[in-house]
């Protein structure tokens, strides 16, 4: 059984971005305990300002930004956590977990509702993937996590 892990990293080596500030997710696929990079998913932030002052880079370059939306406008997204899942959460809804430097409480709740685990750690991408895939492999095979000292 394979599954996907979403990682936030500016350089692909260190987990150095928070969930909120990350512009993209690197998606890894793990099959039989072995992980490989699958793709990178850019987050298309909704334009919050029609004058283009704070529109995200990805938005400008791709040119197909949705208009409207933004914080508190009722379309999801932004800082609200209680309502529907944010688009960022939707973007990784097929992943089993997400690894980032820090993550907010509300987003964590949203992820929980989709049964996506969140790991907020400051380690290398490699270490995170090693440890997480080891953990999930043990869990999937109903093996003990017990460490023999």
């Amino acid at each position: 059984m394979s599954y996907k892990i979403a990682v936030t990293s500016s350089d692909g080596l260190q987990i150095d971005e928070t969930f909120g500030s990350a512009k993209s997710f690197i998606i890894y696929e793990v099959a039989d305990g072995i992980y490989r990079k699958l793709e990178e998913r850019a987050f298309r932030e909704e334009g919050t300002d029609h004058d283009g002052i704070s529109v995200a880079d990805s938005c400008n370059s791709s040119g197909n930004c949705k208009t409207g939306g933004g914080c508190g406008s009722g379309t999801g997204g932004g800082c609200g956590g209680a309502g529907e899942a944010s688009e960022k959460v939707e973007l990784i809804s097929d992943c089993r977990c997400v690894v980032c430097k820090k993550i907010g409480f509300q987003i964590q709740k949203q992820l929980e509702r989709k049964a996506i685990s969140a790991f907020d750690v400051s380690v290398s991408v490699e270490e995170a993937l090693e440890k997480i895939s080891h953990y999930f492999t043990r869990m999937d095979n109903h093996e003990s996590l017990r460490v023999q000292k």
């Binding site: 685990s117 969140a118 790991f119 750690v121 380690v123 995170a128 997480i132 996590l145 017990r146 460490v147």
Partner: protein, 432 residues
């Protein structure tokens, strides 16, 4: 096939947080999942200066399982030292950090130079129940805190008895044992309950000897203290309840401590006179054979099963049916404990069963012919069963739902009288 245990009468080793709580101004720091302390705390008698709801806890989650929780543990200890004014900090580990291999000892060792002592005990649930956890906490105090003392205080005796909170009467019992020792001229030292804390712990190595009143709990602790602190120890397996055992208890302690025999006898005499004055006054009640049950069973830990069986047989002349020890007594102690049940007066012997599964205990009680309605002294689990057998029931062991005990006790002469009061209160209610 996995085995299910029906209605067990103990908690996991992390339940030893209550042992820590019983030491005044000592606080447990839990390296465990969130909710452990909530589940393990008993509803009554556990609030106060520190209560399970405010015990510092690492509240470890999935992330700590994958990446290790030692960093969280370090900051939790660090901050506990900052914001909680305690005399002793005892880090206790739950199952999860033990399974995933967090090196708690290493983290705790970083606090060697803290202003207050920080020690740790690995109380993972899979290592045993809270009786074992209790021993582990005392072991931690011996290993990591106490030092051998050259100075000995004449007549100072450390008393060790029941497991706090697990035993409903722990506070009253230990005070009563203290009182009895003081009466024969010794100075008792205990570490649990009101006004017993770090100062009493510091006094442990200065004692002349350790007195252990328990069939098996803390035997290991006594051996450890003998080795590390050079403290000899006297082991009295039976909790003295009532005149017969208490007088025996005082004589044995007196002999071991080298107390003048006349002194001991005069104390015994005074107590016995009053004790038998009471018994005599109520002899009509005791001799009225329709009041009390012909046979009784105790379902409790080894401490109470043994103590109460001896009391009811020796002092009240009741006939023991099967007795049940439900504390998962380690195998190496069982034979000696079973032998104790054969040493009853009037040539009586009691059969004892070591069983943790309440279903099996209840089946055996149902099968037994009590020659009338039974008297069952046990935990709350026996209430419904005894009702169905139309017997008399008294809640004396954990879990307790049927009794509120602040500092009542069954130990000693007075304790025996209290137990008679409790049993006969139940018995006479049947007729009124």
């Amino acid at each position: 096939m996995a085995k299910l245990l029906d209605k067990q009468r103990y908690k996991c080793a992390l339940g030893a947080m209550q042992t820590v709580q019983a030491i005044t101004r000592a606080i447990p720091i839990l390296h465990s999942g969130p909710g452990c302390a909530q589940k393990l705390s008993d509803g009554t008698g556990s609030s106060g200066y520190f209560s399970p709801n405010i015990f510092p806890c690492t509240s470890i989650n999935e992330k700590d399982v994958v990446f290790g929780g030692t960093k969280k543990l370090e900051t939790t200890i660090e901050n506990a030292l900052k914001v909680i004014d305690a005399d002793l900090y005892v880090v206790l580990t739950g199952c999860i950090p033990e399974i995933v291999g967090d090196d708690t000892g290493e983290v705790v060792s970083r606090f060697e130079n803290a202003d207050k002592p920080v020690i740790y005990a690995s109380t993972a649930g899979f290592k045993g129940n809270n009786y074992i956890g209790h021993e582990q906490v005392i072991d931690a105090i011996i290993d990591q805190y106490l030092e051998r003392s050259e100075e000995r205080e004449k007549g100072l005796v450390n008393i060790w008895a029941d497991v706090p909170y697990q035993d409903l009467f722990w506070l009253g019992n230990i005070r009563e044992l203290e009182k009895l020792l003081a009466e024969i001229g010794l100075t008792p030292n205990t570490i649990f309950g009101y006004h017993r804390g770090i100062d009493q712990i510091n006094n442990i190595p200065k004692a002349e000897f350790n007195l252990l009143v328990s069939p098996w709990v803390s035997v290991g602790n006594m051996q450890k203290m003998e080795k590390k602190l050079g403290l000899p120890w006297l082991h009295l397996p039976t909790l003295p309840i009532g005149a017969y055992e208490t007088s025996k208890f005082l004589r044995e302690v007196g002999r071991f401590a080298g107390v003048n025999e006349e002194k001991v006898e005069s104390v015994i005499n005074e107590h016995e006179n009053y004790y038998y004055y009471l018994i005599e006054r109520y002899a009509d009640l005791f001799l009225e054979n329709r009041v009390i049950n012909k046979q009784f069973s105790v379902v409790a830990d080894a401490q109470y099963a043994l103590g109460i069986t001896k009391f009811l047989a020796n002092d009240l002349g009741l006939v023991p049916a099967k007795q049940f020890i439900a504390d998962d007594t380690p195998k190496q102690y069982r034979e000696a404990i079973a032998e104790e049940f054969k040493k009853l007066n009037f040539n009586l012997q009691a059969e004892v069963v070591f069983e943790t599964d309440s279903y099996k205990i209840h089946e055996q009680i149902k099968e037994h012919d009590y020659h009338g309605y039974p008297l069952i002294l046990g935990s709350y689990y026996e209430k419904e069963l005894t009702e169905s057998l139309k017997g008399n029931y008294l809640n004396i062991a954990w879990p307790v739902q049927d009794k509120v005990v602040l500092d009542d006790f069954y130990a000693g002469y007075t304790g025996g009288i209290r137990l008679i009061e409790d049993i006969y209160t139940v018995a006479v209610q049947r007729f009124n």
